[in-house]
Subunit: 308 residues, 4 copies
């Protein structure tokens, strides 16, 4: 079933909502007391095509923190602002069977495995911050604005949760120890923490994916968010490493470059065609949205979207 | 540079031979006393398109043992003869940062990480052998014949080298211990060892890749070698796991599903378009042909062949 | 409480039986259908002093397979027959946090960590078998006879259980791969398997421990079972490595060189004074007799037997 | 050779100095620009008996930072001030094959393996600091004073070297993440860092060891430095874990509870008899004094001091 010949996307998205609304497995991330009423139950789906159409269903206007979905975008920013060579002197490009927040690989190889896991993203943040401590935050906010098609903003109450703050700081000190990052750990952590609480609704998230699908240019605004030559690097690492230690299974069952965040969002890129996004905050043990995985698996299969 | 608009492929392949002939790094695998004169220096390149053209340069008529290049093809055979579900109850689909012949992952997870490493391939061989001990070898030889476009044959002197025989047998006993495979370890090992010494020349190897690029049908004979629905599984695992613990780097720098063998061969698939193959026996420390890596990296870059 | 001033040992041992008879945690090793009636419930305790006295209580006349308790004794035999230097070229002396039957350390270091775990004991067996394939089994049986004070015999029905046979054979092939052992894997495994099914009752087991406590001479027969200079090596490795990955906790809570077997036996050495033994087949998850651990912990504490 | 029948200890110590003075392998720890002239070449040996005699040779009046030698003493202080139970809820007692400064075990087990490695010692420091933030430093300084027989003092220029500061802070944040320690990371690190730069000369170091050999009472001052019941815990952990990932080899070749520090000091306890100490700053790759290891290996062997 090809999207261009299939029933109207709106109908299909609505059907996916119905199909998976009963799925209530998983746990939300972070302290429940900060949740808004009904937040855990939210469920939105969107798709944005490279020619600028956007379809959506469900809770499609609620903003949430993108969390780790920020990682491929920061990585792209680092490629643009620094260079492939400079970035990959400090961060490798290998998938890992360790969890997203592991320190083990640092102990063994002294370099983060890839930019899609916490250690790699902290290294990327440190690089950008180090390149220009005054400007780096502005680069980042502008970059997210280009992908979102409107000025980026931060989640009002989200900050680095205490559940992960100490682990990430441990990673940062170990990166410092191995000379992957420099002395300004506080600056690097601030940048890392801010990128995680950039907000989007699910339609905007699909637009971010569509921008990558479109060679780096936002389909609606026509603004370039990342150099064309770096899009393939970002998509490759999303494909091989984006879903952490389940990346292999994701490649096998969904077959699309993707990234998820513990805020409940997940996006996937169909190169040359469109961006897909799901928002539903209940997570599995790997930190992926339970409904997000289920939706994208069926969607990719039913529309035959996989890259192979 | 697109192959359809580029200078004649023959000229390009000849130029690649010239470019990398001086590259003599790496070591051949196995005992040198069994080598033919000049075997270590051989260097051949070929490409086969989905419309049946074959181009080649260098030592393109020398047959060699395909070794681990057999793994994706056996995996496809297992999918066809058994089923996805049955195969993946026993073998996972995750990339690994361990070496191709590691036992460590078995100790941790009790299942081989994927069918592209020795433990997974031994499990696949055992499954097929177990499914029909009388017929399985015939299935295998027929399948390779379909990919080669001529009856499959085994290397006259190659057998499981003593360098790896005991390690592979250790893997087999550990697989038996964890009930991944059954009691007929000798039968499984025989099948595993025979698949490794199937021979091809570099033009035939490109044809095997082209068969996968062509949805499972050999471009010249028109014979189907694998069901269409399983081609994507094979390509996905070649992309994420085919180059062992360097798969991430390969995906990043070459961006094509590929597989290498310690016999010096390496093939890559450009889905929908063509198969590429290189033969040169000197290997790097990961067991990949040194010239093979260098050729495919330049080729993919210069013809912009990467899937992203 | 010192044993020489304490109430009569017989009374104390009887009291220990009473104290821990209600403790019925743990699982027996191996297939239950081969058990004799009530075998799982057996419970015997014994102590043998260096001046030849033996005290016991409970099921003190039932013979059982010593299983891994054989390991320090085979190690001592290897020291006597070969030399410290020759033995430790192939087996290290480091404690491990891996389980007793792990292959992981071989993958990392290519040598067994110590002679008290399966990989080390298989290496020791191979060394002895290799030194003289005709005589080695006789050396072993004579050695056990010297420790037992009567001719050694093998358990009539016990053989290498299928539960561990394939894992041990995997270890053997990996040892072969790393050139720790030679080609006669079957010979080494036969020797390894036979040592495990040597039998003793709990009084004889205490006598084996007392022989080590007595500098290598059996207190009752006066026969030397191991050279004096090697007794310290055996005791040191029993202390640091004898209880596998719980050796640290054992040293901390009991403080005596000890060794346990999955047959339900456990022995401990009080250097210069006596040997202690317990027999009770229910095992904890590490393969140690549950009652054995409980008895020896209290006994060491109440009689202040720890070496520090 | 027993020390009571051997030639005068002074002569023996002088002979050891001569024997190993030519041994100049190894590297000093830390930045060379802070070294005093000739510091790297210093070499002192001392022994202190439980009846109050002290013998020494070589550079026996130079004070140096005890560094990790502080660990067993802080552990003893924690046992005295808190309790066995409270301490070991947060720190295990297992030897490790990881290096002294590894974070890997925390990732796996979420508890430090033992109090003799950095992670365990940081946890111990945090416990003590948390128990009474105002008094804890005083307890520590008093305790070291009791072992030294004079008021404790800190090295004037030594501080936590930048080479290890970030790694230790990474450990602290990971301990915090796993709730092993509380929020006052700075307080814990200050206590950890101060204990490392307590100074002693080699005669005083031998006295510290002799205090443990003497059941916790300083032989010269008669002051108790640790409760008798906790001495065995300290000695046990020094024996099984004191020499990090070489503890097994140390137990095998020297056979005494011991602890070394990167300042070049190393002490060993002969229970009931005496304390031994060596000072020589060149270290092997595990962080042990090269001459220290060589001296104690010969000394233990020639005087037959091993506990087994």
């Amino acid at each position: 079933m090809d999207p261009r010949t299939a029933p109207p996307p709106d109908a299909y998205l609505g059907e996916l909502i119905e199909r998976f609304l009963p799925l209530r497995d998983g746990e939300i991330s972070g302290p429940t007391e900060t949740l808004e009423d009904g937040e855990a139950e939210r469920f939105g789906i969107a798709m944005a095509t490279v020619d600028g159409q956007v379809f959506s269903a469900g809770d499609d206007a609620k903003e949430f923190a993108i969390q780790s979905i920020s990682k491929p975008f920061l990585y792209g920013l680092a490629l643009d602002r620094l260079s492939r060579q400079e970035v990959h002197r400090k961060v490798s490009v290998e998938p890992t069977t360790e969890a997203f927040n592991s320190l083990t690989e640092l102990e063994e190889d002294h370099l983060p495995y890839n930019p899609m896991i916490n250690s790699g993203a902290i290294a990327i943040s440190a690089m950008l911050h180090h390149a220009d401590p005054q400007q780096a935050d502005g680069w980042m906010m502008d970059m997210f604005g280009d992908y979102l098609g409107r000025p980026a903003r931060l989640h009002p109450r989200a900050t680095d949760s205490t559940a992960t703050a100490h682990r990430n700081r441990a990673i940062a000190h170990l990166l410092r120890h191995f000379d992957v990052i420099g002395d300004d750990i506080d600056g690097a952590m601030r940048m890392y923490n801010r990128q995680c609480v950039v907000t989007a609704d699910v339609r905007e998230l699909a637009g971010m994916a569509a921008t990558l699908a479109n060679g780096g240019v936002h389909p609606r605004t026509g603004r370039r968010a990342i150099r064309r030559e770096h899009v393939r690097d970002v998509l490759t690492l999303m494909f091989t490493c984006g879903m952490y230690d389940t990346s292999g299974n994701w490649a096998y069952t969904v077959g699309l470059p993707a990234k998820s965040g513990v805020g409940g969002g997940i996006l996937a890129v169909v190169p040359g065609r469109m961006g897909l996004a799901v928002y539903s905050p209940r997570l599995d043990s790997h930190g992926h949205s339970v409904r997000g995985l289920a939706v994208l698996k069926d969607w990719s299969c039913e529309w035959d979207l996989g890259i192979f």
